[in-house]
Symmetry: C2
Subunit: 198 residues, 2 copies
């Protein structure tokens, strides 16, 4: 998505070897117009796939997921992170390990919001090692629902997440793909939605 | 806001003496059309007030805050919760005590996103004891910005938050105000936006 790549070039900040900070429009301050364009683009890619729910994980995934849900006309569910979830038979839960933060979180969704009738689009802000998206996939499968695809705002293509999700048979759509950081510059790999950039 | 009160009557669940669960449209699964109506209503109330930023706190405040920001045409910022924030001179931080969870969280906003030029609308999903909104107010004041008002989706009017915010000189707009729970039914107090319900 050219609009997004342009914005990353202007406002993204590279920290260290492999961190891209986009807190001025996505992860802390949120630009609603860009988020709306992102949500609509993801909806366009999956519009004919019979999506009934959009699922994300709090908190930075909520804005793009909400606009994708609006454009598709379906509810959005955000999975909850919690260090300690008390035993509760109404919850689907799984553990997700974050390489960035080096912590394991328990992630949960109430059982009543997903059923075998659901076809789900997973949306998240970043894809790196894929553990958050794989955790959401496990919750969706626990519910007996079908995960159709994964929509990602920014993928770090030099990490393992992409291949892990494709190996699960999911249709992956990353709107910006960072192939490498070279001399303080971002080298983009071809985005999955390039055909829609007309 | 009649649309919201009606939805609370249909889908809200009363737990124990003083908890209202609205996880089917606000705090877990999100109904984008209701959130959009809520955001637009809050924007209508504050439209002539020169708002430059909408500030909320992750995670359930994000959806209504985002649509309010869209309707006002300004950025939305969500404050981050963290148990341990390492010392960082670029962060505004304050501690917020949750009576519901009986825990103190450190809440933070990056200094660069708020300045003395900003007039801020605070948005949150619930108002009970007012500690979250008061925490956001402290961050806004630390930045030298002006807090104009507070927009709340659901207020528990039998708790102390309302008076605490009004005592700070803030214009409070609660779209649904729960006066009491009686015999398993919700008794609403008059909402602050009733004049807009035409």
């Amino acid at each position: 998505m050219k609009l997004l790549e342009d914005r990353i070039n202007v406002d993204g900040r590279i920290l260290g070897d492999d961190i891209l900070k986009v807190d001025s429009f996505l992860t802390h301050q949120v630009d609603f117009s860009l988020m709306k364009a992102i949500g609509e683009r993801l909806a366009d890619v999956y519009r004919e796939k019979g999506i009934t729910k959009v699922v994300t994980i709090e908190a930075s995934g909520i804005a793009p997921a909400l606009y994708a849900a609006e454009s598709l006309g379906v509810p959005m569910i955000f999975a909850k992170k919690a260090k300690n979830v008390t035993m509760n038979e109404e919850l689907l839960t799984t553990d997700v390990f974050s390489f960035t933060k080096q912590v394991t979180s328990t992630v949960s969704i109430s059982k009543k919001f997903l059923s075998s009738d659901d076809s789900v689009l997973i949306v998240d802000d970043f894809l790196a090692n894929g553990q958050a998206a794989l955790g959401l996939l496990r919750l969706i499968e626990q519910a007996g629902a079908k995960a159709v695809g994964v929509g990602i705002v920014i993928e770090k293509s030099f990490q393992t997440g992409r291949q892990l999700l494709i190996n699960k048979g999911l249709q992956l759509t990353s709107l910006a793909r960072i192939g490498a950081f070279e001399n303080g510059q971002i080298v983009f790999a071809p985005a999955d939605d390039a055909a829609f950039d007309k």
